[in-house]
């Protein structure tokens, strides 16, 4: 049996990696990806707890996190496109 805290450790490491990604990367898309890592860390935690605590709530939360991550990715990428396009055009002008 794998101890619960092992999962917590993995998720914590991932969370920190994501955090550092946000802090140190310059590229917006990669920052976005780093946030995805953070969210994944959270889902790992949630699923693990869900399993160990024998409660479905954690999985549900994880599911919703994925859904929301999807929506936010869409918006985020749209914003990036706007910015990017706007700059190109201003540059051309």
């Amino acid at each position: 049996m794998i101890p619960l805290n092992a999962y917590v450790a993995v998720s914590a490491v991932l969370f920190i990696i994501g955090l550092l990604g946000v802090l140190i990367r310059r590229n917006f898309i990669i920052v976005l990806m780093s946030v995805e890592i953070m969210l994944n860390a959270a889902t790992i935690n949630l699923v693990a707890f869900s399993h160990y605590l024998e409660s479905m709530a954690g999985q549900l939360v994880a599911l919703f996190i994925i859904a929301i991550a999807a929506g936010e990715a869409a918006i985020g990428l749209a914003i990036i496109i706007v910015v990017f396009r706007g700059k190109i055009s201003t540059n051309v002008d």
């Binding site: 998720s11 994501g18 946000v22 959270a42 605590l53 939360v61 996190i65 929506g71 914003i79 706007v82």
Partner: protein, 500 residues
Amino acid sequence: MTFALTISSSDLLLLLPEILLTSWLCLILIIDFSFPRLPNEQLAYFSIAGLVATLGCLAWFDIAGITGSLFANMFALDRMALFFKMFIVGSTILVILASIDYIHRFKFFRGEYYFLVVMSALGMMFMASANDLLSVFVALEFSTIGFYVLVAYLREDTASNEAGIKFFILGIFAAGLLAYGISLVYGVTGKLVFSDMQAVQATPGLVIGFLLIFGALGFKIGAVPFHSWIPDTYHGAPTPVTAFLSIAPKAAAFAILIRMFFVALATFKPIWALFIVAVSILSMTYGNIVAIAQKNMKRLLAYSGIAQIGNLLIGLATGTKMGSDAMLFYLLTYLFANIGAWAIVIAVSEAIGSEEVDDYSGLGRRSPFLAFSMLIFLLSLAGVPPLAGFIGKLYIFVAAIKEGLYVLITVGLINIVISMYYYLIVVKKMYISEPHDRSPLKISGPIKVVLYVCLAGTLTIGIYPQPVTDWVVSAFLMFSNLADPTAALPVPPTVIPFGG
């Protein structure tokens, strides 16, 4: 494990405002798609009609005392939720009114603007009712996603883009923190609903979890040190959006903070009170001091908003019923003064196309009404009697003094003086400085309505606050552990910040 969805029509009644608004949201979208030539004013009034209906519904609930909870206690419709919902819907109405003129700056998708605003309002209504961590997360992101778009709505404008992207990055960063915090709290307690979490052991996991949640909410309300997005975003975003951003999400986040701290963490009050004191002191001082140096009205108001949040946190730091009553009251006073001030910024920027403090020179002569309103709002923000802001500050300070938070109070009071300083700079510009251009300013009808409402609110609450105090006092009756102010909460007599 069986399927056990038991929802009666009376349960659905509790969701009526949200259902109503959701339907209206769809209607707005449908009308916008179906009648592309519809003048945007009409869509605005249509949206407002829906919001007013919702507001009426909420008011009916409040008066009739219809309360309850749904979905395993995850959706709480108590009087506090009603208060916040009305607050949010009300501020949304004002914001939409104030934006009618501004809309013409958007080259595309004017109709969707209303959709997004109302959608954010809907999300915040859910926040006001959110009684569990999942709802918090979902509703928070739901309301925020609208703002991501709204902030970047001026697609041609670099500043707006910049603001949008900064807000977005930091917003999802906060969402990441929130998600991870929720996961940790869930791990420690095994629960999501706030009221089920009482009396748990304090472990590092729980502390870090709640801290991360607090960080995300602090980001929403813009408290130092989670404030960094505020000035740039406020500056770059379309002004009505800034106005909206500066009040409604903060209120909704406060609803969550109150539930979290007063219910889930009631037993840990001595601890969280301390760090809220620290955050409050930092917010007030930082916001006020940096505001002095601002040359741009939007940035000035942004920093002043940070400081005001510091004031509000004083109420949270007390951890008593009186403190939370005071917070609610303060929020109301802040609503009118704040939206009013922003409406003036909108009006002025519509008229002269500038938001620099310098360009407010001679406003007293160019538009006495605008200048006078601004004076009233600024003074209310500064807490000068008998305006609403004064009573709000008084309420909060009395609550804090009762808890013996002297350090906090002292800092708060000194900050009032500092804030007066920069508010007076604006007043001086408006009334004393010679205008660059003497032509009178035109104010549009909707903005006037907003200003009248805000003026009336500011003055009425200031002069006759009784109904409002009754309201906020009744809004908090459900916290049984706080109902009696002398109840035996683990309250330390004096709190010295920073671990003394």
